[in-house]
Amino acid sequence: MKPTKKVAWVLTGDGINCEVETAEACRAAGFETTIFHMSELIAKPRSLEECSLLVIPGGFSFGDELGSGRVLALKIRRQLGWDLPAFARAGGLVLGICNGFQALVALGVFGEGVALAANADGRFRNEWCRLEVDPAARKTSPFLDALAEIDLPIRHGEGRLLFAETSAVTALRSLPALRYSTNPNGSTDRIAGLCDETGRIFGLMPHPEGFQRASQHPGYFRDATLPDGPAHPLSDGAGLALFTNAFRSAKPATKESP
């Protein structure tokens, strides 16, 4: 039997804490979605070919000790043994959100000379930001298809994107994908998200799953008074677009789950 389903895997465990709402967004976009606990995958290893989209959600893996995302990245590399760039080249999609983005950066999928440091003011921040989609990345990354601007919440203490003094963005294996319209954390060039050279690995500090319903936006209650405003608090939110874009370009899992 040839597999035809578009399958999303959402990681959890070890302090990841946005798995439920992230899986919800994947399902809303059409994916057949499973939340996998890291310990489950380590105990019974699985091949990435069983999924179309891998999502590493937000959270505080390992309490952010030793640098956010770094121990989770170590665990993915050493204990799951996954090769994400190879998966992307084979048509798979990878999305890292907030702590998941931090883990992707620590895994080196965007190149070596990039890091996410503590916010410039040293403080955690939960705030809504307007984000601009980079035109080049829009063409490269299926996640960003037809998107120009989007409002999303940020919720992080270590989201300041910095490059090593020696490396220019162009020398990296990545493209800036999203920029904050203001700069809430002191990131270089206001960068809020990166995609790899295939565009199929995408990481961002803001939370697209945090705007899957209209009422998650702080302006909802006024928008709802407008004639063309959202009809119901549970109507779709703009952040869902990243997931529906992913669904559209996802390839069915090439290997059936055992």
Binding site: C18, G63, G122, D236
Partner: protein, 1019 residues
């Protein structure tokens, strides 16, 4: 062994690559300058770095392999340097001081534990077999001209109860690694001192000796209680074991037993004039004797309002309320005042962590879905002017804020509601309330108990401890927090009462327990909080009528703990679980897979005894009946004499309206709390419906309460009605009124909590509308002061009368009684007692999500009304508090519960969906509520001519119960006015929302931007 540890230690230091990356230094500098307002930022410079020391207990890992692994894990090439050459390059002169800081032995060192786990992953070995022991160190370089300032900064970076510090000058710094290399061995395994079983010879002690022993041992038992224990053991014809004394002291502590609320209070009133006259309100009748204030007031209110949706009240860790056909919500609010006074960060992080465990341990286990936090602290002007031995209030506030952040954000639980109250009375002891709500399925077919609120244990079930290990941290917390803080007392320097939290370990344990619950692998559970295993197992034992707890295999952080210390240690992140024998292997196996430590420690029995064993010997064997019911009843005297307000000073000039408004908006109790709430993740879990503030670009308006969704994860737009609802949580806390009358204080606090959730769209009225209350009393010692006892009685009846009138039940509550401080300031004795403070928390439901609403105005042209029987007063208001003069002749604002009920029933029904915004009239009064509504969308307001002719300062800024400022689309004005009139709801037209971003008063016009800047304290 210790020699090996020293020689094999690996030390890796990480310096920020550039100074710009040293945000720890940036924040330390900010914090230090805030506490020392006169100091120039150029007077000092501080830089920070981190270091890790890894000891190898065996040769299992070669030194080179270890270094390579550690560097790969620790060093971020973009951000860190491993040599100090650049960031710390400046030559160290005589004005330089270096500090190395590390945790004291036995304290929780989360970074070190993570490093051990990461090294094991990297080296491919099991963590427990790696033979590696890590330590996290913090390094500071301090440059300042004055030696005094250097010493002050060195003291500032560490907490003596948590950290050990070593200081160096430029010369000795070079040898730092060698100097402190041996230090880590201080925590190397040692063994327990003394015999396993020790007894306490009580039978021949006289009363004075009993009291002395209670004090020396930090048992906090009264003379009467010590006498009861003495008689019990005389009858048994044996001496108690120390373990038994510890169990009794903890179980009978005020913290656990609430003896004051359950005692008998004789009440009388003195003074001829009677209470402060309330405008039109009746003065309450308080009985001359109250037996069990809890039953007579709080529980009586609940009994008076039976509701079909109440699933569990007062008996469990948290009250449980049915929310949908499938889901129930539980809620609990705790206080952590004493620990927060000693170490604000540690006190608050363990406070929030503890209340999460309360939720996890409610019913058959719940998942926390929101947090709330309320802080009461002294104003910043007391940073300098304060008694010896207590922290500056700014440091306390920043510490407790950071503690709730560190406990809430990593746990993935949104912190959605709260309050911050400034008052000088909180200088000695701050009040720190931490609350949490959770969701649990009403039924689980697979679970042995099926029904979420059922709690039972069968004899033979295993006692299993899940989560963290037991250390010396937090021994005697329950008894300690039942005492007044005394800076001269050993209690202030007693390191063992301070605990540190580890949210990561707790998150893993929670993840595991929810899976185990859904698989039906345990019967019931509770948290290890105050009193540790003694309390958790001692309480669970009442379900099966006995327990045999064996501490031999208890996992420890410090191996030299005595068994009675293991028994009462309050080390965090632990749950006690009753597991049926048949499920035990599966339970333990799942725990191991999910990286959680679980250990079986004996079993539940049915022999009526609480037995505790250690290495085959009995360290406690108590009759459960005596343990839980043997504590003698407390008797209190209460005397109330009304306080008269100070007369209006002759010749004082009353302020202009605009001037007063700007002063109020910028005053500490009203000004935006954004700096706190932005640092809390208030949207994680993706359930946010109404946020604590409405943030539109760079503009902010406050909301009255927050709402989060409850229900199965949904595919947007495909949800059946009633499956997804919202929980609204709001708080009321108005201690200001306690200066005059705690009865009004309690009623106004309750009313404010209820109004806050109504403003956001909560349903109200009729038996099916879900709204539940929680009470938290924080009091100065009512045992030694009859006035405070009278305040307590009056507050209790105030809550009862208000809740009964509104037909709202209490579902949970907690009290904290000895919030007094004794110490010295400038050589003189000082005593500071908190204002009698009641926090009321309201949990409401929005059944139809389209009823949810926010507080800010939405559209120009909308009409603005005041709804409710607005009998306001400036007495006890923020207007009075900030020192604005007023000739207000009125007394305290009265309650009118009949009018309130009519209005609340309208607001809590579908009819109120026509409101575009709703805000309750609270601190700062009506005009403050109007101003706050303008910010988000930069709108303006034009005051209605009719109202303006009549209005005086009391109308603009008076505070009171039951009223709201609402806005409506002009198309609804006529029909709503008719409807309110017909329903007997008082209303006043205040004005109209305008496009022009300014507040237009009869004689003044103030730009909205100016108002918002005042509120946000922006220049």
């Amino acid at each position: 062994m210790s020699g090996q540890l020293e020689t094999n230690a690996l030390r890796i230091e990480l310096f920020p690559r550039t100074r710009d990356l040293d945000v720890t230094a940036k924040r330390l500098t900010e914090d230090f300058l805030r506490e020392n307002p006169g100091l120039s930022p150029n007077a000092f410079r501080i830089e920070t770095a981190k270091a890790y020391v890894i000891d190898r207990a065996s040769e299992a890992t070669g030194a080179e392999a270890l270094r390579e692994a550690a560097e790969e894990i620790l060093v971020n090439a973009v951000l860190d340097r491993t040599d100090e050459s650049e960031a710390w390059a400046a030559p160290a002169g005589t004005r330089t001081l270096f500090v190395e800081r590390r945790f004291r032995p036995g304290m929780t060192d989360n970074a070190a534990r993570t490093l051990e786990e990461a090294l094991a992953i990297r080296l491919g070995v099991a963590t427990e077999n790696s033979g590696l022991l890590a330590h996290r160190l913090d390094l500071y370089r301090i440059d300042a001209e004055s030696a005094e300032l250097r010493a002050a900064l060195a003291a500032f970076v560490a907490h003596p109860l948590l950290h050990r510090t070593f200081t160096f000058d430029g010369e000795t710094w070079a040898n730092r690694a060698a100097v402190t290399a041996g230090v880590s061995t201080a925590s190397a395994p040692t063994s327990m001192v003394g015999p396993i079983v020790r007894t306490f010879a009580i039978r021949n002690l006289d009363e004075a000796a009993l009291e002395r022993a209670s004090k020396e041992n930090l048992w906090a038992l009264t003379r009467a209680e010590m006498l009861a224990i003495r008689e019990h053991f005389r009858a048994l014809d044996r001496e108690p074991r120390i373990g038994e004394m510890e169990v009794l002291a903890q179980t009978w502590s005020e913290h656990c037993k609430h003896k004051i609320f359950r005692g008998t209070i004789a009440y009388r009133e003195t003074g001829a004039e009677g209470p402060v006259a309330t405008v039109g309100g009746a003065s309450p009748t308080i009985p001359a004797e109250t037996k069990n204030l809890f039953k007579t007031t709080i529980k009586a209110a609940t009994d008076a309002s039976p509701k079909p949706w109440l699933l569990s009240v007062f008996s469990d860790n948290a009250g449980i309320v049915a929310f949908t056909a499938k889901d129930a919500v539980c809620i609990k609010v705790e206080t952590h005042n004493s620990p927060s006074a000693i170490d604000p960060f540690a006190g608050a992080i363990t406070g929030i962590g503890g209340v999460h465990r309360d939720i996890i341990g409610t019913g058959f286990g719940a998942k926390p879905i929101f947090n709330l936090d309320v802080f009461c602290v002294a104003p910043a002007r007391f940073d300098v002017d304060r008694p010896d031995g207590i922290f500056p209030p700014s440091r306390i506030l920043e510490g407790v804020r950071a503690g709730v952040e560190a406990g809430g954000n990593p746990a993935g639980i949104p912190t959605v509601a709260g309050a911050l109250v400034y008052d000088a009375s909180y200088l000695g002891k701050p009040l720190v309330f931490c609350g949490s709500g959770g969701v649990l399925p009403r039924e689980l077919a697979k679970h042995p108990l099926r029904d979420c609120a059922a709690k039972s244990i069968e004899a033979g079930d295993a006692i299993v401890m899940v989560g963290g290990r037991i250390g010396r941290d937090g021994i005697h917390g329950a008894t300690f927090s039942s005492l007044a803080l005394d800076s001269s007392d050993a209690s202030m320097s007693n390191a063992t009462v301070v605990q540190l939290g580890d949210p990561f370990t707790q998150k893993r344990a929670l993840d595991f327990l929810l899976v185990a619950r859904d698989r039906g692998l345990y019967r019931t559970l509770t948290d290890n909080g105050a009193g540790g295993l003694s309390s958790s197992v001692g309480e669970l034992a009442t379900l099966s009528n006995g327990a045999r707890l064996d501490l031999t295999d208890a996992p420890l952080k410090a191996t030299d703990l005595r068994p009675e210390e293991i028994l009462v240690s309050e080390s965090q992140e632990r749950m006690s679980v009753a597991v049926p024998r048949s499920s035990l292997p599966d339970f333990l196996a799942l725990s191991k897979t999910m990286g959680v430590e679980s250990t079986a420690l004996g079993e539940f029995t049915a022999n009526g005894r609480f037995e505790v064993l250690y290495r085959g010997e009995t360290i406690a064997d108590l009759d459960l009946g005596f343990l839980h019911d043997g504590c003698p009843e407390l008797k209190l005297e209460a005397t109330w004499s009304p306080t008269k307000p100070a007369p209006f000073p002759a010749g004082a000039k009353t302020p202009k309206v605009g001037e007063a408004l700007l002063a109020l908006l910028g005053s500490e109790n009203i000004a935006s709390k954004e700096s706190l709430l932005r640092q809390y993740d208030h949207e994680v879990q993706g359930t946010s419906l109404v946020k604590p503030q409405t943030q539109i670009g760079d503009h902010r308006s406050p909301n009255q309460s927050a709402a989060v969704l409850v229900g199965e994860p949904t595919v947007a737009g495909q949800t059946a009605a009633g499956e997804v609802v919202a929980a609204v949580v709001g708080v009321g806390i108005l201690p200001e009124y306690s200066r005059y009358d705690a009865y009004t204080m309690a009623q106004a606090s309750l009313d404010e909590a209820v109004r806050n959730v109504l403003a956001t769209g909560a349903e109200f009225g009729g038996p099916d509308a879900v709204m539940a209350l929680l009470d938290n009393f924080c009091w100065p010692d009512p045992v030694s002061n009859p006035k405070y006892a009278a305040d307590l009685v009056r507050a209790g009846y105030g809550l009862r009368d208000a809740a009964t009138a509104l037909e709202l039940p209490f579902v949970s509550g907690k009290d904290s009684m000895k919030n007094d401080f004794r110490g010295k300031q400038n050589g003189r004795d000082v005593k500071i007692s908190v204002l009698p403070t009641v926090l009321v928390t309201a949990l409401g439901r929005i059944g139809d999500l389209t009823r949810a609403r926010s507080s800010e105005f939405k559209q120009a042209g909308d009409a603005v009304f005041l709804l409710g029987p607005h009998r306001f007063s400036l007495l006890g208001s923020q207007f009075e508090r900030i020192g604005l003069a007023h000739p207000d002749p009125r007394g305290l604002p009265p309650a009118d519960w009949a009018a309130a009920k009519r209005l609340y029933a309208w607001l809590g029904s579908d009819r109120s969906t026509r409101l575009r915004s709703c805000a309750d009239v609270a601190e700062g009064g009506t005009l403050t509520a109007i101003a706050e509504g303008l910010f988000a969308y930069e709108l303006g307001f034009e005051v209605d001519a009719a109202w303006a002719t009549e209005a005086n300062l009391t109308d603009y800024f008076g505070e009171g119960m039951h009223s709201f400022v609402v806005s409506i689309g002009p198309e609804h004005e006529v029909d709503l006015v008719r409807e309110w009139f017909a329903a007997g709801i008082a209303f006043t037209k205040l004005g109209r929302v305008t496009e022009n971003a300014e507040l237009k008063l009869p004689k003044e016009t103030i730009p909205t931007a100016v108002l918002e800047s005042a509120w946000r304290k922006r220049p």
